[in-house]
Every structure is written in C-alpha cells, then in structure tokens.
Symmetry: C2
Subunit: 332 residues, 2 copies
C-alpha cells in the first residue's frame, strides 16, 4: 500500500514559536504516523526576501531543525530536508517558468498582498515574484499530494495545480500530480499583543526555545481586557489573549471554565490568571526545552539527521526529474 | 598560464546556416586555438519560446552538434555541451533572480524588442522575461570572460555584469567574474531576400546542410538589383545580395572586382553571376557536407562527443557552484 505524500516546511528566518506549534507542528506530529511526510527547511525561499543576509538564513537552518526534533518530528517517520541541496527543485522551477505568465504571477493574491505589505514597488525582485513557481517545484519534486496550508496560502496550491495541468497537457504525460490543500482545524494563535498573527517580525511571539523566565515575562505583558482595571471589575474573555491560550494549552479545561466565569463576574485579577498560564506554558515547553538543549550540545548530530533526510529526498527528486526529462524529450 | 574562457553557443531550434557561419562559427574555429572555449547547445533557452514543441528542440540538438563538428569546431579544442544537463545553471538562475528587479528585466532593450516582435502582451511568460538571468548563469557558471555577441546582444552582457557585481558585493566575494563582449568584425550576412538578417524563421537562409541543388536553387532566387531588367542594363552593387556573398566567400577577389565593374557598366546578366556564386558556395560547403554526412551515419558517436563535453563542463560548473555556495553560506 503506497502512502499519500505530504509536503510541508518552514522558512529558516528565525526559531519557531507557539504559533508554528498550534498552526502546523502539532499536525505534523500527528500526520507523520499515517502519511509519508517531507518537511522542508526552505532556505532558497527564505533567500527571496533575505538574500542580503544569508548568514541569518544559514544560522536558522539549524535552529529550525532543533525545533523540529525537540517538538517531536521523528526523523524515522518524517523526512526533514534542506531545499537548497535539491538542485532538481531549481531545474523544475526553470522549466515551470515557461508555463506561467508574468501577468498571472502579478495576480496571485498571496504574493500581491505581500508585495503591498513590504512596499516593494519598483524594487520587486524577479525572485520574489516567482516564488509561487518555486513552491510548485517544491511540491511536485516529491510528488506531494497533500499540502497543509493556512487559508491565505490557498492561491499557492491553485498556482501549483495550474502548472501541473499545463505540464501534463503540453508534454502529454501524467508524471506530475495535483496537490490538495489541508487546512488545519485549529484556529490561528494570536500574538501576545492580541494581534491576529503571532510572528517573529511583529515581536509578539513566544518561541519554543524561550527560557521559563522569558515565557513568564512575555505572559505578564499579554494583552487581556484593557477595561479590566481593578481586580473587582468584571472582565471580558473575548479577545483576551490569556484565556485564548488557556483554551488551547491548559489540560484542565474545567478549571479554565471556572476561571472564565470568575473573571467575567469580577474579583479575579489578570496577574493570577497570567501566573497560571505561565505555569501551563512552561509545563508544556519544559520537555521541548530539555530535548532541544540536549540536541544543541551536538549540532553535528542534528545536521547529520537533516543531511540524511536530504539524501533520501534527493533520491525521490532525481526519480521525478528523470520522468520529467523523459516527458520533455530532454533525456539525452 | 591560464587561458581566458569564452562562452558561446546556439539555440537548437533549427540547423545552422551561412549567417551563423559568418557571424559566429568561423570566429569560433579561429578562437578555439587560443582560448578555452565552451560551446553551449542552449536547449533550456530554446524552450523559453518553444516549450510546446520539445521534440523540435530535441531533434535540433543533434543537428546543431553535427553542424559544429562538420564546420570545424574541434572537440579536442572546444568543449561542446548541452545546457539542460548542467543543473548548476538552473541553481544559479534561481539565486540570481533575487538580484534583479522585474522592472529592470522589462527595460532590457533586447528582450523588450523581442517581446514586441513576438506580440506576447499579456501572454508573456515568466520564463521568457527571465532569460537574460539564465544567460548570466550560463556565462558565469563556466567563469566566461569573453562572450562573442552581436551589437544587439550587448544589453545581455550588461545584465550579466550587473548581476556579477551585485552578487560579489552582497556576498562579499570575488567568485564571479565580469564578462567582456567580443563583437565580430565581419558584417552580418543578409538573407537571400535582401533582408538584413538571415534567419530560419524568415525563410531566407542557406543551411550548412543544404544539398548542392538546393543551394543553387536558393542562389537563383536571390535578391539582386530589381531595376536590372535586361542584361545590357547597368546594374547596382549596393544591396545586391549576390555580390555581398561573393565579397565574403569568393577566394578570387580580383575576379569579383572585375565582375562588379562589368555589372555596373551593363552587359553582365544576373544568372551568370549567380552561377558563379552557386559554384563558390558549393565549393565552400562541399567538405562541410561530406563531413556532416559521414558523422550523421553514426549519431551516437556525435552524441558521445557532446556528452563528454558536457561531463567536462559539469566539473567546471560544480566547482563554480561550490564557490558560490560558500559565498552564500549554503555550504552545509
């Protein structure tokens, strides 16, 4: 029985945080038992908007690998690999660029939003505009059938499947496979400042590698109910980051329910709830931190795991490329 | 003593013609004695505007290789290789795309003219817009110092050198080398219809592989002086394709001078001059045709020569890529 293939991964631009855990890592730990899962450390994609700081990308390849292993991505079940070490991805990208118009890339909603946010204007690089094509290569090089993505990333899967269909039609083949998006059920984790998205660049993240003290400090800064001034005042639960985290991470949901009622009634101070959350998070993070610290003592062991995953991925990529070359009459 | 490196080549979209001979092949035969010359069969570039007919590109890889060897490109002096078999070119292309803005690519005069000529409009593919970046990868992957090009291709060398400077500056290295254009002294060969450029797509070409009969027939169709109606009329030399060919290919230039004077005086018919040109061209083409026919008997021998050149090129490309990866901190 052949397993369905998942492609997933992260850009190595910083260590991973609780938002990554809730949004994707916990799913990967679950999915790796039933799927053939490739987890890509996307250094080439990270370079599209970090090409001037390659040392930052390099450093974070190891950080991300440490996070993966610490959190429970099991290299015996999942194949972790480094994108830049699979030249077949670059080869596919170059071939796929012929199958996509510049106008189509400009219309890609995800890229359009990002270009506006980053204010690129005339400075938009070719590399950034093309990155959805590179993603199509990432997915198809391992014949990914399932790609776990957020709602906002759906246009990427659409772009990939357009390329797949164009390729198969033009080269009269069925070598490439369309991919399905898998949208996680868990709601996105908000930042500690209450913004919808936790992100390193927004400075509102709790990292998996943060120490217990740092976690406690960040929890104390958390956005709660700005109108909840005195302990005896009634407080709001909606939009209160502390309670939204307790909903996700606290293993005693009955107690959370009681705390919510008390908070809404009045008489429960923010500090008390925050102390509970700090404990809950540190209980959750402690084993991850311990494992991470152990692994970090010998980075070469970690890199060896990633390099072995890369070697395995390369074999799959070479097979795909072999079939692609044959379909394109480039099998000299 | 290290030799300077030349990169040159052709898109395998059809057999080579006399225009290629005059414009580039004869230079290559000369230059291969004093330079380290790489001759690229640019199948990946050919696909940017022939991606729907890969079999045409595939077929012409062998045709172009046959032309090269028949005409005197010596595989012991020049290294002939197939572009698509050097994945390092695709890898460099992907990295270089970060160093070029979309606006800059749109301003490239050569590409701009081609886009207008081909009437791409909204259908402009990303692959076509990017091909100057791919050319920068072709040149730099072998550390090409000299690139023989026509005047109209100068913007390509400029684009390459912009990328080289950006790369060396950003990654604080001198791995990549700027390239110099080498503009051939010989004027461009006009088509048999009198148009400035001989080209397969314009249908005005004499191919190196044309039979003696076909050459004679094409010469008979040549554009001369449209006002030279009767033999006794004085005829014009300027813009007269037959004489412009005799200038280049006739080994007896004294006789050509006499014919010109006679033609201008009147009393010399087009057919007579054309018969001479047909003889001159067939004398020139005969040894090429003979060698080509011999080689064509055993295509595998030809392909083996190209594959050996490709193997040698790959070694150079891998060395370049090794240095590039080091500069970019991607040497895991």
């Amino acid at each position: 029985m052949s397993q369905e293939i998942i492609l997933t991964g992260d850009r190595p631009t910083g260590p991973l945080h609780l938002g990554h855990y809730v949004g994707s890592l916990c799913n990967r730990i679950r999915l790796q038992d039933t799927y053939k899962q490739f987890v890509m450390i996307a250094d080439v994609q990270a370079l599209t908007d970090n090409y001037e700081t390659p040392d930052k990308v390099r450093k974070n390849v190891l950080e991300v690998a440490l996070d993966y292993l610490a959190v429970g991505i099991n290299p015996n079940k999942s194949t972790i690999f480094i994108q830049s070490m699979i030249p077949e991805i670059a080869e596919l990208t170059v071939f796929y660029l012929n199958l996509v118009t510049v106008a189509r890339l400009r219309r890609n909603p995800t890229v359009k939003t990002e270009i506006a946010q980053k204010g690129y204007g005339e400075h938009l690089t070719a590399g950034f505009l093309m990155y959805p094509v590179s993603q199509a290569a990432d997915i198809t090089v391992v014949k990914g059938a399932i790609v776990p993505v957020g709602e906002d990333q759906l246009p990427m899967i659409e772009q990939t499947n357009e390329i797949v269909r164009a390729f198969n039609r033009i080269y009269n083949t069925d070598v490439l496979k369309e991919a399905k998006a898998l949208i996680p059920k868990v709601a996105r984790l908000s930042g500690i400042d209450g913004k919808a998205k936790m992100s390193k660049s927004l400075g509102n993240a709790i990292f998996l590698s943060d120490s217990a003290d740092v976690v406690a400090k960040k929890v104390m800064q958390m956005y709660t109910d700005p109108d909840h001034i005195r302990v005896e005042d009634p407080g709001k639960i909606e939009g209160n980051v502390v309670f939204s985290y307790l909903d996700i991470f606290d293993t005693d949901q009955d107690e959370v329910q009681k705390l919510k009622e008390h908070y809404q009634r009045g008489g429960l101070g923010d500090v008390k709830v925050k102390r509970r959350l700090a404990d809950v998070l540190n209980t959750f993070l402690d084993p991850i931190r311990t494992k991470r610290a152990q692994l970090a003592c010998d980075p070469q062991v970690v890199m060896d795991i990633v390099l072995e995953g890369t070697r395995q991925t390369r074999l799959v990529a070479q097979q795909t490329m072999h079939e692609v070359r044959k379909a394109m009459h480039l099998d000299y």
